[in-house]
Symmetry: C2
Subunit: 425 residues, 2 copies
């Protein structure tokens, strides 16, 4: 059989997705494996067992990233694929998991066919990509790429008060491999789109051109608690009203800027949080994203101006804490071309598009040529138990991953200028 | 000594306020004795001890209201004063407590002077006035007045899931006296204003003309959780945004209506409440108050229209649950006159004003001629550890209560048409 004719086994892939999805199942088709919880450990143990069963060489690094390597006929940096297996509290079974289990499916397909590639292949899963429990998100790949020190990362404190380093030790995933990690030859990540673009246009494969920049901040408004009946409106210093106003203005800002600008207030807590007491304190997050750094900076500045305006008018104070900030990333055009070409060769419709979500691939892009393969999300729904991608699309994506990795693993078929070079974005 | 020359002992009153305030102290000058908690029980036990020490006849009714009676020279319904001793989670030490301990101070002043009134005097504290733990607020006096059945009240479920009847039994305050209670001859309640009006105008005593009507509802918005990065703004069904919009519109509505209309969103919960997930669900309360029933109804209808509008535009559903609804109450003009006259006789500046907060007196007003005495709140602050009223103003209020109760206790000095008559408001 020609290498070009190799195809993944979709039943094997969906069986693994279902089995991993059952770990931390929320009973409604969804999954909750927040980073470094007992459920995350159980998911990790399962995937590591599969890696070992495939004869791969598994290593765990200081921040808990797991990399499994399949030897090539020559030594050298591997062609790496991967993603993450942690989820948000109301996650689905595809987000992250597909990139990791799709990688294992590529390896098993090659094993079954007795194919040995020239370069080694690697399948990785990175710690705490979601950032739901520990901020910032993509923390594991951030440390892997050297952009965040291991010391700083281990001291991050969870929303539930736990220290990341302690939790890593507790679940047995603080490994000996040093960070930053070794730069792969190239990195390619298969992922569900998590948005509606491919489905809306009836296309199967997305050749991802880059990733939106992300700005996360937590704002704390300090007003004055008071009786909700006896305090005339003009005497109020209502932290809850200020938070609500900023949420509404963030929406208006995104609408006004249009295009790729999005803005979300997803977390909000009032204190004392009682029906008949004006809130003295409001703590909430603002998530801003744009594909263009200058526009993202404009959105940040404009929001900040509006926060000042509302706070001044209500007579409250505001403090802010940066939870995460990533500039937009452009993927290596050679990888984008390769994804598009491979998908076309396999007969799939394709579309170039940016990613609205952050992904580990944007961290790996600091180290080596990187890119991503998107498959459609039904209804654009993700971070939700209803998250779904059809078996047909999962199969198409995994076959594109297989084809692209095979081509990357043989340096003579690539258009790269010889060795891997660090690409700064 | 003439009865007219009797005065309360302010040091004794403030000592009792401080001692009761220490029960459930939050350590910052504030107090947390949520209804029917262990701290509420400790506060009740302390006040009952004081009542017994004063030789009063203490009874507990089926809903936990406590009434202590000091015999008069004649039998018949007592002149009652009182209030409540439960607090909000971030309460001060004056709200409610002053009306009860001011009543005990009146009794002790008469005891010390050896004065026996013609009619009996009663000091009461009513269960769950705040409504912070069990809705509706003023629950105890509502049952006392017969406007809510004891069966319904006992089945009310707390915000923490506990059943009111169970909690009442647990803390040992489900008494044998049947509800509704016996109608007093008259009812008068001393209370801090909890608003800024008296202080702003430099006046000492408020002769309260009535109580604002109260409308409490809990709204639940059901949208769709989704990824905060990949979901274009126009595809969103964001429950958090809808809640924020309604909070902002409630404020705008109150501003537009002006005068006595107030509107507050004090409690708000998002789900899943994560930085990078569009909220699928928002549960929040809206507190609307007005002194005029027709205007309160307008505010309710207008808010409802706006909720429909925002929900339709965002493509989310909304359900609402009524937590409390009380029509505005007008106090008996003879009691209002009496308070004003007594304050003037004692040399205090007075002002007629409505109450922005709900009070037990509005429930008692269903049974007998009722009214209230207000003293200033510094900065208008209440439901807050910083709640404060000066000793001078506490003393003035307690002396007005003493003078008014003495006059009410001798029917021949009153301008009532003989016997007490039920007054419907």
């Amino acid at each position: 059989m020609q290498r070009h004719d190799l195809r993944v086994d979709i039943d094997r892939l969906t069986a693994r997705l279902d089995e991993l999805g059952a770990v931390g199942s929320t009973g409604d088709g969804g999954c909750a494996r927040l980073a470094l919880t007992d459920d995350d450990r159980a998911g990790r143990d399962l995937v590591v067992t599969w890696m070992t069963d495939l004869g791969m060489d598994v290593s765990v690094d200081e921040i808990g990233n797991v990399v499994a390597v399949r030897a090539g006929s020559e030594d050298g940096p591997p062609v790496m694929c991967g993603s993450h297996i942690d989820t948000v509290a109301t996650g689905g079974i595809y987000d992250g998991n597909l990139g990791v289990l799709g990688g294992l499916e590529v390896v098993e397909t090659l094993e079954s066919a007795g194919v040995v590639t020239k370069r080694p292949l690697a399948v990785a899963f990175f710690t705490d990509e979601e950032g739901s429990r520990f901020a910032p998100d993509m923390l594991g790949s951030l440390v892997y790429s050297g952009a965040l020190s291991i010391e700083e990362a281990l001291d991050v404190v969870a929303t539930d008060g736990a220290r990341l380093g302690d939790e890593l030790g507790r679940i047995g995933y603080q490994g000996p491999t040093p960070c930053p990690g070794i730069a792969p030859y190239a990195y390619i990540e298969l992922h569900i789109e998590q948005g509606p673009v491919l489905e809306t246009h009836g296309e199967t494969i997305g050749a991802v051109t880059g990733v939106q920049g992300i700005s996360w901040q937590e704002l704390t408004i300090q007003g004055q608690s008071n009786h909700a009946g006896t305090t005339p409106m003009s005497y109020r210093h209502d932290a809850g009203f200020v938070a609500a106003s900023i949420a509404v203005r963030a929406r208006e800002l995104a609408r006004r800027m249009g295009a790729d600008q999005v803005a979300t207030v997803g977390r909000l807590q009032l204190s004392p949080n009682l029906v008949n007491v004006v809130a003295s304190k409001a703590t909430f997050t603002v998530d801003l994203r744009n594909t263009v750094e200058k526009l993202l900076q404009y959105a940040e500045a404009e929001l900040s101006r509006q926060v000042d305006e509302v706070c001044r008018s209500e007579g409250v104070s505001c403090s802010s804490r940066r939870l995460a900030r990533f500039e937009p990333v452009e993927f290596d055009s050679r990888i984008v071309d390769l994804v598009e070409r491979t998908a076309s060769r396999l007969g799939h419709s394709t579309r170039r598009l940016p990613s609205g979500a952050g992904h580990d691939a944007q961290m790996l892009a600091r180290m080596c040529p990187s890119g991503m393969v998107f498959v459609p999300s039904v209804g654009g729904i993700s971070h939700n138990p209803k998250e779904f991608t059809s078996a047909e699309h999962l199969e198409a994506g995994a076959n594109v991953l297989l084809g692209a990795m095979l081509e990357l693993a043989e340096s003579d078929v690539l258009h790269f200028d010889g060795e891997c070079e660090a690409v700064a974005h």
